[in-house]
Structure formats: structure tokens, C-alpha cells
């Protein structure tokens, strides 16, 4: 058993739903008890979907367990087919359904529906949402893709990975499609998002696959490589440098030469503009799914000039990639799906900026640290009305704004404080854009195990601008601790400052 307050990933059947709900012409019958229908609201409320996800639940109850739940399931499949007339039927069980072992695949096939029925075996007690989405997409691709003539209308590719409830998938697809078309590469099929079963059948017509989200499309792409010999892109185009590398990779795979000017992008100039100098060396902790976390760390370090002090992910399946990426910053990757552990790490490292999920945003808010969201799990805020890709050149612009804004707000607070207080007003007022608890908490955390502060040193510390005071306190305490000093004097404060000067 694992004690869980909040989860980064949902259960496996939600992963399957993300694929089914992304597509047209697919229906998913889920053997599940009453209450599991809550998953519908993820789509209708978080993503504001204008239709119910194409899922039928058997919603068996206690009274049914004594009876024939298998019959209930068969009825549900038959009724769903009659009502929705899908091109493909997915069948499976939720965690409770799995325990009653009714064999949804066998039951559904026995009905002899005139459409393909794909049974999903998604072990709920071992696996999680993203793995299941990958498995579901793979099952659909394997079940539906057929041999087809290649590149009939010029060099073409498929875009694989975007699903319902994906973090900015809608806009990433638009951005990457635009990029590919500008390069002269035709987009054969985008899947699962917006694809029909008939479109999946045509996957083989493309020369290569663009894998936007390896967590979801990796398995299917490897299968397509094996089955049709289609190579896949390896670069996820997040950030300017990666987008350029992605373009090079695409041109090589498509066997064409560049023929268009690079689209305008503000990130490089904005990052060099002198108002961005203050970003240099800001200590940033990154946590998210593997793809977004690894990419964010890279962009943070090399395109914004941040200092990556922490890198982690809940995507255990990508442990090797994460450890490798972290090593590049001299770090050990934090691979965990325990949000308490991540919170602990943030509290210890006290970065200047957190790039994380909605969970880290809230943790950072409590700790008084600026934060931007880079990854699922998604919240309604992660489906803005405006065009907000993470990928490509416009995606790089979005990253710049989203990551710099919280820091800029911090700077504004600093300046506001300068104007407002000047000693006589409460100098310890926390930054107003951060949590109200920020200040008290930061002192509290800093105080653990710390040497005592001499009154004049405490006074001197209060002269340090509030914006950097927390770090000055922590650096000094760490310095004193490392040297076994019990009392922190003004001299200690300045010794520590000289020691930490970079």
C-alpha cells in the first residue's frame, strides 16, 4: 500500500479514455462500478469538452456482484454499439472491474459485433495513466494499421502522441504541423487527437513519424518502425535550440533541403535583452513528466541562463533518460510519484523558481517561491483560450513569458517594497504575489538546526533586501553549520556572503 495525498497520474483506464476521447469513431465500454463515471468530468470540465467522452460504464453495484455481471457487461456493449455505432470498440475494466475477472475481451468478442473489438489489458494495480495511454494507442495502431503505398504525395509524416487532456497538445499539434508544412513535409495523420480508425489504417503511408510525446507514442512508434520500417524523430521540439535540431532531423528524415526562412522567435532576443540579465544563475528546480522536465531543464539552462539545481519526474518508465539528463547538470534525478517527497526536495533546495506541475505550483506558493507549470497533470488553467503551445518557435516564446513572469512579479514586489516601506514600515511583509504564509514558513524552515543569531547579526540581516534575505539567512546558517559555529555574528554573515559569491 502506498499512502497518497495527491497523484500525478490517474488510473490506467483514464489513460485509455484519453486516447478514446481524442478520437472520432471509437467507443470504449468499461466494466466499472458506479462512481467511476467521475472520469467524465475530467474531459467535460478540465478540458471543457463539448461532448461526453465516448465511454459506457457498466456501473455495477453491490447487488450485481451476487448476480451476473458478465451479462451486464454484454448488455452494455450491445447497447453501446446500437446507440453510438462506432467504427471500433474498445473494451476493458477499471480497477474494480479487474478484480471480478469477467474477461471483457472475450465477452465482447462473443457478441460478434460487425466492427473490430480491441480488448485492453491495463493492470490497474501495477501501471498508471500514461503507460495505459501508450498501450491503448499501440493496441489501436496494431489493430488497425495496414500496409499502404508510401509518400504518394511527396514526403510525409505522421504526428503521434497528442491525446485528450494533454498538456497543451491542442496547440503543440498546430505549431508543429505549421512548422512541418512550412518545411514542405505533408502531415499524413495526426493521432490519436482528431484521428478516426480509418486514419489509423493509413499510418503506413507516411515516410516517418514525429513523436511529440514519447510517454504516449513511444510504444506505437517502435511498433511502426518494426512493421513498416518508419523511422521516428528523437528530438522533442521544446525550446529554440531543440526546435532547430528537430527541423534538421525532419529534413534529414524527409530527405529534403531547407527551403524556407526560420520563423521569427522572440526568445533569443528577449533572453539577451539587458533586462533579462538578472535571470542569470537563478536557481531552478524542474519536475514534471519526463519529456517536459528534461526539455524544460535544457531550455532553462541554455536558453534562459538559469542554474538547474533539481530535476525530477514521476515518469518512472523514463528513468534512464532522466538520470542521464540530470547528470548533465551534475545532479541526481529525483524519480518519484510521491508528491510529499517532491515537496520535501523543494523545501530543502529553496530554488528561485520552480518549473513543475500544478502540484509543485501549490507547494511553491506555500513556500513563497515563484513557479510556472510545465507539465500534466492538467488543470482547467492549463487549457487557456489563447494559442499556447509549448513546442516550436511560438512555444519558445510562451515558455519565456510563462517562466519569466513569476520572477518579474517577484522583482516587482522587491521594488514595491523599496518604495513602500523604507524601514519604518514592516520590513518583513511577504511578497504579496506569493503565499501569505511565505514569510513565516521560510523563516521556520530556515530555523531548523540553525546556529543562533547574535542580535546585531539579526539586525544586519534585516538590512538585506527582503527579496534576497531568505537566501542570505540560509547561506549564512549553512556556512555556520559547516564550520560548527554556534553563534552567527555580523562577521559570519559577511564571511558566508564572500564564500557564496559567484
Amino acid at each position: 500500500m502506498q499512502l497518497t495525498l495527491w497523484t500525478y497520474e490517474g488510473p490506467t483506464h483514464v489513460g485509455a479514455m484519453r486516447v478514446a476521447a481524442a478520437m472520432d469513431g471509437v467507443h470504449y465500454v468499461l466494466h466499472a462500478p458506479q462512481g467511476d463515471t467521475y472520469a467524465d468530468l475530467l474531459f467535460t470540465m478540465i478540458e471543457r469538452a463539448d461532448r461526453r467522452p465516448p465511454v459506457t460504464y457498466t456501473t455495477f453495484a453491490a447487488r450485481d456482484l451476487g448476480g451476473d455481471t458478465a451479462a451486464l457487461f454484454k448488455t452494455a456493449v450491445r447497447d453501446a454499439y446500437e446507440r453510438f455505432r462506432p467504427e471500433v470498440m474498445l473494451v476493458g475494466a477499471s480497477c474494480t472491474g479487474e478484480l471480478i475477472q469477467d474477461d471483457p475481451g472475450g465477452l465482447a468478442r462473443a457478441l460478434g459485433l460487425p466492427i473490430p473489438v480491441i480488448a485492453l489489458d491495463l493492470p490497474s494495480y501495477q501501471r498508471k495513466e500514461n503507460w495505459a495511454a501508450a498501450e491503448t494507442f499501440y493496441a489501436l495502431v496494431r489493430g488497425l494499421a495496414v500496409e499502404a503505398p508510401r509518400d504518394e504525395h511527396g514526403p510525409s509524416c505522421n504526428i503521434l502522441g497528442p491525446t485528450a487532456l494533454g498538456f497543451r497538445h491542442r496547440d503543440d499539434v498546430r505549431e508543429v504541423r505549421g512548422l512541418l508544412e512550412r518545411l514542405g513535409v505533408r502531415v499524413n495523420v495526426v493521432a490519436p487527437l482528431g484521428a478516426t480508425p480509418a486514419a489509423l489504417a493509413r499510418l503506413g503511408e507516411a515516410r516517418f513519424n514525429v513523436v511529440l510525446y514519447p510517454e504516449i507514442a513511444g510504444t506505437a512508434a517502435r511498433y511502426l518502425q518494426k512493421r513498416f520500417g518508419q523511422p521516428s524523430t528523437r528530438t522533442v521540439p521544446i525550446g529554440v535550440a531543440a526546435t532547430r535540431a528537430f527541423v534538421d532531423e525532419v529534413l534529414a528524415l524527409a530527405g529534403i533541403a531547407p527551403d524556407a526562412a526560420e520563423p521569427a522567435c522572440n526568445l533569443p532576443w528577449y533572453s539577451r535583452s539587458v533586462d533579462a540579465t538578472y535571470l542569470t544563475g537563478k536557481r531552478v528546480l524542474v519536475f514534471g513528466d519526463a519529456t517536459h522536465a528534461i526539455a524544460a531543464a535544457r531550455v532553462a539552462a541554455s536558453e534562459l541562463g538559469f542554474d538547474v539545481v533539481g530535476l525530477g519526474s514521476y515518469s518512472r518508465e523514463f528513468g534512464r533518460e532522466l538520470r542521464e539528463a540530470a547528470l548533465g547538470y551534475g545532479l541526481e534525478a529525483l524519480i518519484s510519484d510521491d508528491s510529499l517527497e517532491v515537496e520535501q526536495r523543494i523545501a530543502e533546495l529553496r530554488p528561485d523558481l520552480v518549473l513543475g506541475t500544478q502540484m509543485e505550483r501549490h507547494v511553491a506558493k506555500r513556500l513563497g517561491i515563484p513557479c510556472a507549470v510545465i507539465s500534466a497533470p492538467v488543470h482547467v488553467q492549463d487549457f487557456p483560450a489563447r494559442y499556447s503551445p509549448q513546442m516550436g518557435f511560438e512555444g519558445a516564446n510562451v515558455l519565456f513569458d510563462s517562466w519569466v513572469h513569476p520572477l518579474m512579479m517577484g522583482l516587482e514586489e522587491h521594488l514595491l517594497g523599496m518604495f513602500r516601506e523604507d524601514d519604518e514600515f514592516s520590513p518583513d511583509a511577504p511578497a504579496s504575489h506569493l503565499g501569505a504564509e511565505a514569510h513565516s514558513r521560510s523563516l521556520e524552515v530556515a530555523g531548523v538546526d540553525a546556529a543562533a543569531w547574535a542580535p546585531e547579526a539579526e539586525r544586519e540581516l534585516r538590512r538585506v533586501p527582503v527579496f534576497v534575505r531568505g537566501r542570505a539567512r540560509r547561506n549564512t546558517e549553512a556556512y555556520a553549520r559547516d564550520r560548527g559555529r554556534a553563534l552567527i555574528t555580523v562577521e559570519t554573515l559577511y564571511e558566508a556572503k564572500a564564500h557564496h559569491a559567484r
Partner: protein
């Protein structure tokens, strides 16, 4: 694993048995026996309406529902409802020193963080002990695992005074006996922390029935008392409880207790001189157990809207022998305010049609309010479960011919709804936006549970919750053509 099929009702029974020992009170001893016999909540028989305790009502404009009308459409099919775990979202706020530990799957954890429509990731007073493959495969002893999880939890949150182990669909199917586990753990954690168990599984509970199960688990813990007292059952926001206390005091009703109490260490007593007043219509099991402990229920319509609130207080006043003059004097200002506030919304809603999907069992009181105080036409009133006895006073106030439905086949219900094209649909979050996209105005029902809507002072707010979506549509329709996906 096929052997994990369970007998219905088994777990709640064992819980009740376990708890009764702790309470140690003569009347309570009998409760578990009845609990063990209880049919599942969905299937209680229809009791005849009791007329005696209905308070006198002013003349209303709509002919009341006759008993013969109460033949709800019963449906079996996909039920688009929450399970009882969802109640934790408000219960943990009602009892700030309690903690709710769901023993279940990743699905349960995911439901809890999604159900409230918000994910704010503050450190909450609920969590899930997620059952893993090694637990199921027997590589780990589940009771040891549970002990380990609870130990870690109580170390981290020593301020917890009451820990609920909450059963889920998986824990029920694998027959994990949380009642016994609670008793075992309590031996270690008492007196600092009490440990109780109840089931919020979707196999047994629909949405608000989770609160019923939770409060029912408290009943054996209540001390015995022979003093006359009023016990108000149902989790209420602080502001409502304060208003109700003030009104009861003004009526001269002395001892008033609330279940649940704000502090788990201050459970109200119960006994033969306890009069039970339900503040929520979904407390079947809680009421049954309290009655088994000697409490006598005051039958009344529920305190929603001016009429319901007046009926509810009047029933209590009658039960406690309050003089009608005094009653009227105490209630008159609130009545006037409620009527004024509701009256303003009535202008917007009168004559419009409304369709209520089954959700919280609050549908019938709300339908009564919408129909009688706001003048709306009821197209269909769905309820996950119809407790005829507790709702007798409500049913009597519904207009003749009201179409009731119990249970659900969501696709067929949607067909009926689309055919009727009501002016307003009250439904869950999974249905609201799809209906909006079809041009049908909706009020998402969970907000009705999360907002303070009981009593006179909130009658206007309750009306406003129904009126706002219609007001919004009117505002937007002026400038924007109804939303329709447009080609890029």
C-alpha cells in the same frame, strides 16, 4: 480472484457491530442487529406517508402531488453519479480534527482530487492508501500494510483526533475488513485518536450516501443521555449551524446538538428523549441507527427555501411545544427576508421548465422549492434513491403529475431531456458542458452541495444558483451567437 464476490451489506454490518462495543449503551446494543438485517440502501420498502407531523401550510398555487402519483420511473442502466467517497470533500471540512483515509485504488485517489472540480494540492485531511499488486498477490500482508500506512500518517499528522478508514470498491470486493482493522488500530491509538470505519464504495453508496455512512459510523460512539434534546443531523456549513442555533434558541428549544459536531471529541449524546431533526434528506441509515438508539424523528419538509425552512422549524417547534404565537414571531422576519430575496429571482424563473438529473437526493426538496417558490415547471425530477418516509412531506408538496425517476439509465434520460428541451437542467459535471454545447442551459449540481443553501438567509442564494446560468445565457445571447465549433 473470482471468490472475492461479496454479500451485499456485509461490511457495514460488521462495522456497526464493531462500533457498538465501544459505545456501550443499552439502546445502542440493539442497533447492530438491525443493521445486519438491513437491505441495501437502494431497496428499502415504501412506507406509508405519515401525515401527523406535517406543519400547517399556507395555501399554495399548485395542486399538491397525491400519493397515488408517486410511482417513479425506475431505471437500470449507466448511472452517471459519484460514489460515496465524494462526501469526504465536504465532510473533512465539517470535522476539522478528523482525517479520512480511503483504502482503495489509484482511481479512488484520482476521484477525490478531481471530484471537487478543483485541484489545489494543499495538504488535505484526507488521503488514499493505494492497494498495489503485491498486496493483492499476497506478497504483502494487507493488514500489516495498513498498520504501516496509518502509523506514518499519524506521525505526520499528530493533531488528528478521529481517523476514518473509508472502504472503497476494491476493498469491498477483496473483503478487506476495515471494521476489524479500525478496532485493532484503535487499541494503539486511543485515547489520542479514535479510529472508525465506513464504506464510501460505489458498490453500496451513491454520492451523498457517503455522508450517511460516515454519520452512521458515529452513532454507536454517541454517549447515552436521558435529557430531552434536539439532535440536528447532517453536515452543515458553520454559518448555517450558527443561524439554526440562534433560531432554536429564540424558539426556546434548549438543548440542541448537531451531528456531526465541529469537534470529533465533542460527540452529541443520544437517548429516548432525543428528538431527531434531519437537515438533509439522504440520511436513511443514520436516522435508522439513531432511532434504534431511542431518538424519535420529527418528520418535516427540509429547510430549503422559505417554505421548507418554515415547515422544518415549525415541526421542531411543535415537537417541543412552542406556542404558535412565539413560533410565528420568531420566524416572521426570516420568512419576510427569504420571500423578498427569492421573489426577485422568481421574476426570472417563473414559468420556465426544469429537468433534474439524479445526483444528491436533494432533487426532490429542490424541485419542491423550484416549483412552489419560484414557479418553475418540473419536467422530470430524478433521484438516485427515493426514501419515501423521510421525503413524505416533500412529496406531498410536489405538483400533481410530477414525473419522478429513481435510479438511472443516463443515455435514455438524456434522450428524454433533449426531447423536452427544458429551460434549465440540473445535472452533474460530466453532463453539464455537453448539454450546454447542445444549447441547453445547465446548473451543475455539486455546487448546490458545496454552497450554504439551507435556511431563510440562504433562500435567495439558492434561488440565485438556479437563476444565474439562465441570466448568463440571456446576457451572452445578446452579443454572441450560440457557440458552435467553427472550421479554422
Amino acid at each position: 480472484m473470482g471468490g472475492w464476490r461479496r454479500e451485499p451489506g456485509r461490511v457495514s454490518a460488521s462495522l456497526a457491530l464493531t462500533r457498538s462495543a465501544a459505545a456501550g449503551c443499552a439502546v445502542a446494543e440493539q442497533a447492530p442487529l438491525r443493521a445486519a438485517e438491513a437491505a441495501p440502501l437502494h431497496e428499502s420498502e415504501v412506507a406509508p406517508l405519515r401525515e401527523g407531523e406535517i406543519p400547517p401550510l399556507r395555501e399554495r398555487e399548485v395542486a399538491p402531488l397525491r400519493e397515488s402519483d408517486v410511482t417513479p420511473l425506475r431505471e437500470r442502466g449507466q448511472r452517471e453519479v459519484f460514489c460515496g467517497l465524494t462526501g469526504i470533500v465536504w465532510l473533512h471540512r465539517a470535522m476539522p480534527d478528523a482525517f479520512f483515509l480511503v483504502v482503495g485504488s489509484r482511481t479512488c485517489a484520482h476521484l477525490l482530487q478531481s471530484a471537487a472540480g478543483v485541484m489545489i494540492f494543499a495538504e488535505p485531511r484526507f488521503a488514499t492508501a493505494i492497494i498495489e499488486e503485491r498486496d493483492l498477490a499476497g506478497r504483502a500482508d494487507m493488514n500489516d500494510e495498513l498498520d504501516r500506512v496509518v502509523t506514518r500518517l499519524l506521525e505526520r499528522r499528530p493533531e488528528i483526533r478521529l481517523l476514518f478508514l473509508v472502504g472503497s470498491c476494491p476493498s469491498e470486493v477483496i473483503k478487506l475488513d476495515l471494521g476489524r482493522a479500525a478496532a485493532r488500530l484503535a487499541q494503539r491509538t486511543l485515547p489520542a485518536t479514535r479510529v472508525l470505519a465506513y464504506s464510501g464504495s460505489g458498490l453500496e453508496t451513491t454520492f451523498t450516501q457517503g455522508e450517511d455512512a460516515c454519520l452512521a459510523a458515529l452513532v454507536p460512539e454517541l454517549a447515552c443521555s436521558d435529557s430531552p434534546a434536539l439532535l440536528v443531523a447532517g453536515a452543515l456549513p458553520d454559518v448555517i449551524e450558527a443561524q439554526f442555533r440562534a433560531t432554536f434558541a429564540a424558539l426556546g428549544i434548549g438543548q440542541v446538538h448537531f451531528l456531526p459536531p465541529r469537534r470529533a471529541t465533542a460527540l452529541p449524546p443520544v437517548g429516548p428523549h432525543t428528538r431527531l431533526l434531519l437537515a438533509q434528506p439522504f440520511l436513511a441509515e443514520t436516522a435508522r441507527l439513531l432511532e434504534a438508539r431511542g431518538a424519535r424523528r420529527i418528520a418535516a419538509a427540509f429547510p430549503f427555501g422559505e417554505e421548507g425552512t418554515t415547515a422544518w422549524f415549525s415541526a421542531a417547534a411543535a415537537a417541543f411545544g412552542v406556542q404558535p404565537d412565539r413560533r410565528d414571531a420568531v420566524l416572521a422576519p426570516g420568512q419576510a427576508r427569504a420571500r423578498a430575496a427569492v421573489g426577485r429571482q422568481r421574476e426570472r424563473l417563473a414559468g420556465r421548465s426544469v429537468f433534474l438529473f439524479p445526483d444528491s437526493q436533494l432533487e426532490i426538496p429542490f424541485a419542491r422549492f423550484l416549483s412552489r417558490e419560484l414557479g418553475m415547471r418540473l419536467v422530470e425530477v430524478g433521484t438516485p434513491y427515493l426514501h419515501r418516509q423521510h421525503l413524505a412531506e416533500e412529496l406531498a408538496l410536489l405538483p400533481a403529475g410530477t414525473r419522478l425517476s429513481e435510479g438511472q439509465d443516463v443515455d435514455r434520460q438524456l434522450d428524454r431531456c433533449r426531447a423536452a428541451r427544458p429551460d434549465l437542467v440540473v445535472c452533474g459535471l460530466g453532463l453539464a458542458n455537453p448539454l450546454e454545447a447542445e444549447g441547453i442551459t445547465t446548473k451543475w449540481s455539486i455546487e448546490l452541495l458545496f454552497s450554504p443553501v439551507h435556511g431563510y438567509e440562504q433562500a435567495g442564494d439558492l434561488a440565485g444558483l438556479f437563476a444565474r446560468p439562465m441570466l448568463r445565457r440571456a446576457l451572452l445571447d445578446g452579443a454572441l451567437a450560440p457557440a458552435a465549433p467553427v472550421a479554422a
